[in-house]
Symmetry: C2
Subunit: 323 residues, 2 copies
């Protein structure tokens, strides 16, 4: 009987770490079996990460295990969903046990943090890549969608923007800064993004639309505008930049990263005027800033970028694998 | 804004072909949103297919689109589940529109046949591979598992075994037969396996355990034996072989393929004596043969292969990517 593949999977991924009562059968049968709570909607998102495309080939396996899941969690955050189950399809060029241990330890640490369970997947041989499918639950009718925003709603983002792009540029030696702590901080923002799960859940009844910023604010706000049939006025001087960003890079570079750098994994969301007070209360105690960066407008106005309240032009491009 | 990737996905994969009322949001947001029926258990299975490992590099895209889904459906069949939703993560070396059209047309034809909906996925650039996550529904407490079989239960398989392995050997020019119709038939069994969805559902209250035969009968029956804590007596002379197989290959070769060739995607299941009559009625009208090939025994007896009721030895090996 074949052993190698199954033993490999068992040793590193078949860990009973969660006590989720909705998992009737996890890894180890033809399918996983999940019992669903009533009056909840299932939210599912799938992400593929390919070595050399979505992550640097020399990434530490612990960083990869963390980030692969964090990116997936960020999609749930954008729907206001509560994380539940994960499937992982892992394609490996070889069996490297040290790599597998560090990758899986890191993945399970984050799974445990969110009380999630790995319920299945596949392990195959080939060029390093992985596909994660994340499953979350959200009370019926309360999921945050990209559609639903209206002209007049205010545009917000969580956290600070552009740090991840700066961190990637540092990792790729495209830029250099002579401040080890700042260097470290930016790289951490690239390798260890914090999915805004709690914020997403707090926004369920307050935001009219939401998306996570994976491709850059311009590109992802663009998805809200398209799905909701709106235009927008975006104030570049309002974009939240980290202290590290402001002290080490000129404003043009910082704003360019904030607009189109990508991989921030912050939330961009829209809030009707009437909910702004409740928003301040709901997000105020999480310790993560949230900033109003503009306002939605009629679709005919398109997306207008403003600096000192004056329209400005910028050449920008979102991330596109086949562009 | 980035267009290429999104347009590509939209054009070939964002088809509204199904009228599933449980899909609140399909492709086009951060997550798909699914509304779940009450008293149903969700069954999820994930399969990765890599070019050169799981399919021949020169496979026709229509055959690949069919088989990728059929293999996934077979896992649902083995649980007795009703197919519902699919996510597809597709990694492509390049944008080849003719390829995409044939692949997606074939995939959607099979999706439609089972009233399934593609609810999301990802498209990335890289070496050709794909990961499918299939979601099905099964009434609570009625899913077929690998565990649950008991000594004395009878072992059955659907269809005929070994044809797919013979078809693969033909495709790889390892063997040759001078009968075009037989050649065609065996290759079709390899490229277009029929998932036994209806049979799986009919077995819900009759079978004590079930699995689909993807790695070969020995390997997959072995999973039932391990999960159920049983041994088995398997009658090699009872293994169902197709007419084509019997007329073109010697019995030793045919039985070797039937035991360990893999990719049959038939069901192997166990039935208590008391359910055998009901089984004949339940599966009798599907037009697909089902054959008793042995009986479960106490675990201490292990797996015994018999020919003319006498134990025989065979060197066999299941499929193992890292073996």
């Amino acid at each position: 009987m074949a052993c190698g593949e199954f033993e490999l999977i068992t040793r590193y991924f078949d860990r009973i770490t969660s006590s989720r009562r909705d998992v009737e059968k996890g890894i180890g049968d033809d399918c996983a079996l999940l019992n669903l709570p009533e009056k909840q909607t299932l939210a599912i998102s799938t992400d593929t990460l390919v070595a050399g495309v979505h992550f640097l080939r020399d990434i530490h396996p612990a960083d990869l295990g963390y980030k692969a899941l964090a990116v997936n969690l960020s999609d749930l955050a954008a729907m206001g969903a509560d994380p539940a189950w994960l499937t992982l399809a892992l394609t490996l060029p070889e069996v490297n046990e040290a790599w597998l241990k560090e990758f899986s330890d890191s993945l399970f640490e984050l799974l445990d943090y969110y009380n999630m369970q790995l319920i299945g997947g596949d392990t195959t041989r080939g060029p390093l890549s992985m596909t994660l499918s994340i499953h979350g639950l959200v009370p019926q009718g309360r999921a945050l969608k990209r559609s639903g925003a209206k002209p007049g709603d205010w545009i917000y983002v969580t956290g600070t923007l552009g740090d991840s792009a700066a961190g990637l540029a540092l990792l790729q030696h495209h830029i250099k800064i002579n401040d080890p702590a700042a260097h470290e901080a930016l790289i951490k923002r690239h390798l260890r993004p914090m999915p805004r799960i709690l914020q997403g859940q707090a926004l369920r009844d307050l935001a009219s639309a939401a998306i996570d910023i994976s491709d850059g604010l311009i590109s992802d706000l663009g998805h809200i505008l398209k799905a909701s049939g709106c235009g927008a006025r975006l104030h570049l001087d309002a974009l939240p930049l980290s202290g590290v960003m402001k002290s080490h890079f000129d404003p043009e570079q910082a704003i360019s990263w904030a607009l189109s750098g990508g991989e921030d994994y912050e939330l961009c969301f829209t809030v009707p005027e009437i909910n702004r007070g409740a928003l301040d209360v709901a997000l105020g105690h999480y310790g993560v800033p949230f900033t109003c960066v503009g306002q939605l407008a009629p679709q005919s106005e398109g997306l207008v970028l403003l600096e000192n309240n004056r329209p400005v032009e910028r050449k920008l491009k979102g991330f596109d694998h086949f562009g």
